[in-house]
Amino acid sequence: MSGLKHPYVTSPTRWTVFLRTFLPWQLWRFVRINLKMIGIIRRSH
């Protein structure tokens, strides 16, 4: 029997969870996400 409460739901790996608050990676993502958003904003205006 599975020990998971929701065995059919996708779960993040420990590495993925770690990266969510890992400062160097998040600084890079901050830049990347902003660039993506600026692209959407420019295309939508």
């Binding site: 739901v9 993040p12 969510r20 400062l23 993502r29 993506k36 958003m37 959407i40 904003i41 205006h45």
Partner: protein
Amino acid sequence: MSRVVVLGAGVSGHTAAAFARKWLGRSDTVTVVSPKDYYNWIPSNIWVGVGLMRPEQVTFPLKPVYQRHGIEFVHGAARAIHPEGSSDDPTPHVIVTPTGGASGATVKVPYDYLINATGPRLRFDRTPGLGPEGHSHSVCTEDHAAGAARALAESVERMKRGERQQFVVGVGHGTCTCEGAAFEYIVNLEFELRSRGVRDKADILWLTNEYELGDFGMGGMHFEVGGYVTPSSVFNASLFAERGIEWVTRAHVRQVDPGLIHYETLDGAVREQRADFAMLLPPFSGVGLKAFDRNGGDITASLFQPNEFMKVDADYRPKPYEDWRAGDWPRTYQSPVYRNLFAVGIAFAPPHAISRPFTSPSGAAIAPAPPRTGMPSAMIGKAVARSVVDMIRGAEAPTRTASMAEMGAACVASAGANPLTGTAASMTVFPIVPDFDRYAPYGRDLKRTFGEIGLAGHWIKIILHHLFLYKARLRPGWSLIPE
């Protein structure tokens, strides 16, 4: 000299008024009519609702801002539009009930161009017992959010004394919209309970009218991840499972009693859910503006849909879901009846929902209404302001378009507020209303539609909070900040 009148001072109305003022000459006037004399940056209400911000941090008085920029302000609620004037005065005008005025007192506000940005009426009355005056909380206004924060603090105290608490967050009716705001609230709530050391005493349930998690009233989204095109439901369920949040989808709340929520689901089941704390958003309608012709005849039905939102240049012919098209959505937001009348933000009537509609065996409609807030709302307000200014200068027709089926949106949904351990889901979607002809089969440009969760999103959310409040205060350089 032309008179531009804007009804409402929310995101779309305030944006429209500010840009109209900026672009018009000083001989023209811009007047804002609003029952509230302060601005509320609503996206940050969720932080007020978990006790992280005070109402004063998400609001500011409008009068000084408008005085500084030469915008006239009428503190009152618009009641009726007379687009042809009246028998004794041919000038188009709006009848306004002044806030704090004598009972029955009204003032007449004349206009050459009218922008209806009245936003929603919060229809707590559609579900017995729903709302702050009933047995649940809301974050729709800063006051509601402050009430939710007080109740949350009481629940936390109970948990510290060893009691278990059942939290239910979501929507309080089958036809609600703004699931995204409720989503932000539930993940912030969960984060806060962890931060306050009482998470082990809390059971948290997401109660929604969405057919699948991650619908958000937009029919869901698809992201390219790891070699797969994956629906947003996968990510939403994953986050909930990770945070220990249970969920009930396809639900219509029928009644809220003290500590008990009665709801039905699409499969016909009728259930009860215990709730020590419930934050359930209400359904929306228009604010109930009336309209009259020059002879005093009631023409409300020709200007407004039955849901009280204003008809604009959309295709309102009833169609089955399979025949819905991106082209049904409005582009100029001009009334088809009066060329000098526009509706922006939540005030315009969408042609139909975005999410597929469903009805329960009892006949209850259970499907999210389409969101029309935030970035698209402001962009529509700006586009209409430009059209109005150009028409004042001689253009025959609106010069700008802002179809939600042709524009994208960037959204940051907070999932926990802390500068080092917080997270937020950052998303972009293009276009907002899926265009299945242009972007088959998912309806959206997958290169411009993405989402990820992380601390960077929280930083962006904090920056946006300050940036958009700065912009709304019309501080130097405000117009350079994009909507």
